[in-house]
Amino acid sequence: MTERIVNDFSITVGTVNGSGSSTANTTILRALFKMGIPVSGKNLFPSNIQGLPTWYTIRVSKDGYLARRDEREIVIAINPNSFAKDLDSVAPGGAFFYADDIKLAVTRTDIAVYPMPIKSLVKSNPEITANLRDLVSNMVYVGVLAQMIGMDMTKIEQALDFHFKHKAKPIALNMSMVKAGAEWAAANLEKKDPFYVESMNKTDGMIMADGNMAGALGSIYGGVQFVGWYPITPATSLAESINDYLPTLRKTVDGKETYAVVQSEDELAAIGMAIGAGWAGLRAMTSTSGPGLSLMTEFYGLAYYTEVPVVVWDVQRMGPSTGLPTRTSQGDLGFAAHMGHGDTNHIILMPGSVNECFEFGWRAFDVAERMQAPVLVMSDLDFGMNQWMTEPFKYPDVPMDRGKVLWEVDLEKIKGDWGRYVDKDGDGIPYRTIPGNRHPNSAYFTRGTGHDEMARYSEDTQTWVRVLDRIKRKYETAKKYLPGPVTHKQDGAKIGVISFGSTDPAILEAQQMLAGKGLKVDYMRLRSLPSQDEVFEFIGSHERVYIVEMNRDGHLREILMVEKPELATKMSSIAYNDGLPLTAKFVANAILKLEEK
């Protein structure tokens, strides 16, 4: 046998959608995390509810790399229908665990093979009645795996304790099957692969969460008051999590609500309601994915031109059209940047970690209300629905920014001398009053048709140009309210990489890989659009810059080229999207290949 490989491999479970393995997989993930080993878990699932092949892949990385890897060192095969494929996918020298009731030939000899008598172990436990068998059978492979790679049993028990909220009965039941698996493995299997885990302390102070829950919590800490939403994968759990947490976090002591969540009849209504609420002074939002975003186009343009603050989360999935609803992508960017007929430009926030999903959750409202504009937060399925190790959520470090709002007292002070679209401060941002303001000068009429500074209907050509130019100016002002880029430098690097969103871990890892091969690159992660000067200084100061993104056409590069044509030729596109999260290897290889040319 070769050398031990510790805390540096991937585990993939091939199973069936709806078969209950997610509890087992989460337990593995959580136990490893509790052992102090950096992990990330990704669910590769079909757009169906029950019965189709699903994979869950866990990366174990002592170095803290969180990106997906293509290599599968350990594969656990539970699904007869994907058995052959799963067997094929094991990396040479890897380990293959499988349910021994799958009566298919295991032909490979370059890997360690471990059959597991899952069915018989479950049956032999008298405590488990027939209808519970399917449910707990997955715990057997947890036990077998734990035994073979050296997982800490107490951590598994802790994981189950957390999962089942300290309820003794299910914990004991599940734990009994874990133990049965482990004991059977100890007695019957001989270790033939090099993969082991060992406790470390690299997860201290970290949490694990998915981006939708983070975004939901962030929104709640941002004071969200109105959510209009319509279900769509992979955005659904964002609104649902808001719904879940609001009562605990935001009800008043006497049980009253400071918010409203309405599941609307479709996305047009969802954003329409949110715009109505935003106009009426509430921190309002909606969340959706590609098809819903397309449907929101007309309303988005209305919010742009009427200057109504509203936050829209786009948890991206693979498009165009219905596409692959359960695969990840960054393909909506180009569309979102031009969303709505006529001249528009939009503010886009691009969280690059689950932690930032939380942060941008609250920050988006500050930006929207400050700028009096729709703000799009672009997350994706990989963030939204997968478990990520991340820094703990940080309580907002700045007070809420409610923007330029005039209430009764304010209007009295200025003797009602006020116009909705007057650029009093020269920054392009006007003042607004909020319906419910009872001052007799407070009211104005909001419309998507041409209007002057006093919000009166106008078809005057010069007025039109003036208002639209002022709005454009407002988006210049926006830059100073938007989160700037984050840069990871390497001494002496001449080439740069720019990216955004969930590609971050792959690029950070690729940066190390490339350094290992002697190629130094500086890496800048954008966090918002429109871009600050810093971004172009970065591009300008490098010989070449690779713009890495998960789509076909290289949308971010297009946007940056348009913003700074002088630098266009410095920007090369590395755009690829097959629906799976990017790997470091892909990024490193792509850069190497382009550098060779």
């Binding site: 957390f162 949490i207 694990m208 969460a209 919590l217 800490y221 004071g223 008051q225 109105f226 209009g228 976090l249 935001r250 049980g255 009253k256 609500e257 400071t258 918010y259 409203a260 309405v262 609307s264 009849e265 479709d266 047009l268 209504a269 329409g272 309601m273 949110a274 715009i275 109505g276 609420a277 106009w279 009426a280 002074g281 509430l282 921190r283 007309e298 309303f299 209305l302 703990p392 959520f393 940080k394 907002p396 007070p399 809420m400 009602g416 001398d417 116009g419 009053t433 319906p435 419910g436 303001n437 007799p440 407070s442 009211a443 104005y444 009429f445 419309r447 998507g448 006093m454 209907y457």
Partner: protein
Amino acid sequence: MSDSLPMAGANVQVNAAGLSKADYRGAPSTLCVGCGHNSIANQIVSVCYEMNIVPENILKFSGIGCSSKSPTYFLNRTFGFNGLHGRMPSVATGALFGDRSMRGLGVSGDGDSASIGMGQFKHVMRRNVNMVYIVENNGVYGLTKGQFSATADKGLELKKQGTNMYLPVDICMEALASRATFIARLFAGNAKQVKEVLKAAMAHRGIAVIDIISPCVTFNNQENTYYSYDFGKANEEMMHEVSFQQADPSFHQGSEGSSISYIPPKPEIMLEADMIEGEIREVKLHDGSSIQLKNLEKGYNPTNRMEAMRVLEEAQENNWLLTGIIYIDPSKPALTELSNLVDTPLNRLTEKDLRPAPETMAKINSLMF
């Protein structure tokens, strides 16, 4: 600006809210002279004045269309949102959460609500949003110059459109199916009834759907304009030829087919005498056609859904325009009452109310694995 605000002078008559009628006015109408929509706007002004409603306590909403322009023409001191075509309901639904002490007052058209807006219209009723929802129904798209809307009568002929092949959407029947809690049908020309029913609608909690037949004097049935009763027979043919650049679907067509050169101003069609309960009266329209108005019978019980369906079906079979309050259910809570909202208007809450305390953060983090 402050000087644009009308203030009641010393000897101006004021209502119990201390406001003069001028405080309820809007901008001058830019609709056609004689358009039914104008008279509805006037009634809204009167109703709010007479009911002593403070204009700031209302929120105005509309979609897109001639009808949807109306909110500009009443209640200048009221916040208003003229949204997108067919999407008034969603904007209103969200906005009314801002301060739930406010009542919504929406004006839409038949195209806006029954064509493009059908989905939102149905769902806003189902949610019982706290607003008066007026459909200024003329069976036609006024603002885009006279196409059939979904409430156009079957068999109606319009220039450039041919004959309408479909039965009309019945706004009140739709409202019943969607369980609106207040449903009425009115004729814009019956000012007295419009005023009375509007008052009841304003006083209702939840959605009050009012289908107001409001003839488009310019486009509805324009093909037959020359049959118009107040135009002398002698000039009929001439008027027709002279006034329209015809869109004749033949080789002899002129090249500017889609524009109408001249729109003769017409007086609004108003009832001359009040109608009594159960009365049936024929009213002539400008285009020479007539409608049969029928007031609901005395003793009609508007709280019974089956009865409401029956009278609507009956009216439809007899070609009556049945007017009055067709259905009412005062018991259902409005959407904003279904949730257990704090007393302070949501839009007056501050950071203290909206941002969970710092202590909660650690607790939340402890839940994350």
